[in-house]
């Protein structure tokens, strides 16, 4: 094996780099960019701006529904979106109804809400209160049924909130029955719950819908954007960084973008090296050398 390797010329080596080198270079690049923290400009896409503009157009006291349908595995990409959306809501005094339709989501969602409230308190001296400024309904199984049920009445799937307080006793839920009472649903998701929100939330009940999804999911939802079934997309870490920039508090996503750009650069460099090796070795084999 060692003899075979030593006989390989540079192009053959470029064609078949051991995967451990790829892992090693990627790890090195990620670690260095975390330490150096290079500043990457964040261009704002139309898809992200439309969500920001919509939220900005709401009045104090309006309601939105924030559906946090993800679990800890996608937390790095999606948590910054949630935090930025909550920050904008608390600043504009928009009331937020929150659900977490992923079985591993509720604990994480509760912690995210708590962090957002604490940050708002540190900035303004006022801590948004459960039942007055926001309500967290928690988790129930079978997202399709829950989305359809909430379209009829929030109290059907959620007679009590996450903290076991009856919905009817919460001042914020007074007169709030279903999606007709909220201005929009912002679905931040890493699951097929996004499809159900589009099909049933928007399709059945016509509630305006915007989504924040992981990078790999984002391209799947462009058709819905063009048809107007959703009015905005936050795609992956980039989308989160855009929203953090728009709400004026660059955070983890903006920091993470430099790491992502460096990581992508490494991948592109390896792709180019692989292709140079491929063409050089193909030419050689065609010539019969």
């Amino acid at each position: 094996m060692a003899e075979n390797n030593s006989r390989k010329n540079i192009f053959e080596r470029m064609f078949a780099i051991d995967r451990r080198w790829v892992y090693g270079f990627l790890m090195l690049a990620v670690v260095l960019s975390v330490i150096a923290k290079p500043i990457i400009p964040i261009p704002i896409s139309r898809e992200a701006r439309s969500i920001y503009d919509f939220m900005n157009s709401l009045n104090s006291g309006d309601y939105i529904h924030l559906a946090m349908d993800y679990d800890p595995s996608t937390l790095a990409e999606l948590h910054p979106m949630t935090r930025a959306v909550l920050k904008q809501c608390f600043e504009k005094k928009i009331k937020v109804i929150i659900t977490a339709l992923h079985q591993n989501g509720p604990g994480m969602a509760a912690a995210a809400i708590d962090t957002a409230c604490q940050r708002h308190f540190e900035l303004t001296g006022y801590r948004p209160e459960s039942g007055k400024d926001w309500v967290f309904l928690g988790y129930k199984p079978y997202p399709i049924l829950i989305i359809l049920g909430m379209g009829q009445n929030y109290r059907i799937p959620f007679p009590n909130d996450y903290y076991n307080v009856p919905l009817d006793s919460l001042p914020m839920m007074n007169g709030i029955r279903n999606y007709q009472n909220v201005k929009a649903v912002i679905n931040i998701s890493a699951t097929s719950a996004t499809d159900w929100w589009i099909t049933y939330g928007n399709g059945r009940y016509q509630v305006p819908l915007a989504i924040g999804v992981t990078g790999v999911m984002a391209t799947d939802y462009y058709p819905y954007l063009q048809t107007g079934q959703i009015f905005g997309i936050l795609g992956g870490l980039q989308g989160a960084a855009e929203y953090e920039t728009l709400v004026g508090t660059p955070g983890k996503a903006v920091e993470g973008m430099s790491v992502q750009v460096v990581g992508h650069s490494i991948i592109i460099i390896f792709i180019i090296i692989g292709n140079i090796g491929y063409f050089a070795t193909r030419k050689k084999s065609k010539l019969g050398l």
Binding site: Q152, Y222, F270
Partner: protein, 208 residues
Amino acid sequence: MKRQFPLIIIFSLGLFMVVQYFVPHEKSEFFYEFIALDWPPIIGAFALMLGVISLTRVSITKIKRKKEAWGYSIVTLIGLFTMSAVGVVGYHYPPLTRAFNWNFNNIMIPISATMFSLLAFFIASAAYRAFRARSVLATILLVAAIIVMMRFFPLGPLTSVVGRASDWILNVPNLAAKRAILIGVGLGIVSTAMKVILGIERSYLGKD
């Protein structure tokens, strides 16, 4: 009757859900709450119980016979029963909820995030091996992937050009292909649902 009864249930409930979907009346809400929201969690709870029993039996057998990687089965059982116990007891004795949250925040979240982060390394290696310009189609895929990956790069005057090219890829060819797939999937779902409701598709009943 063994075969007819499940078919009658499927037909009547399928028909009910179709009709209920288009009737936003209070009576309809009541039936929806009773049939669609109360029953699935009950069935799901029994299914979950079967899952827990099955996982426990498989893990115990693996440990007893000292099969390959049997140590992980011990971890599985400890995790399964510790979280279940703390979760159930915590519901009735709230101070214990903190223990559940501690386990979730300090074990579950880091483990899940780490597993997902590892994907970056596999994707990097797979991209290096797969993105070779072997044919015209492969070259198109390669170029499109690089443009979309580069759309966030600070490239000076080229940034807006790459950004526009990337937007075009996402909004035109990507959108057209996705839409075609979606329409196909949608038609497939409708026809399969109709076949199940009308009893044409019966494979879920088993062979007996």
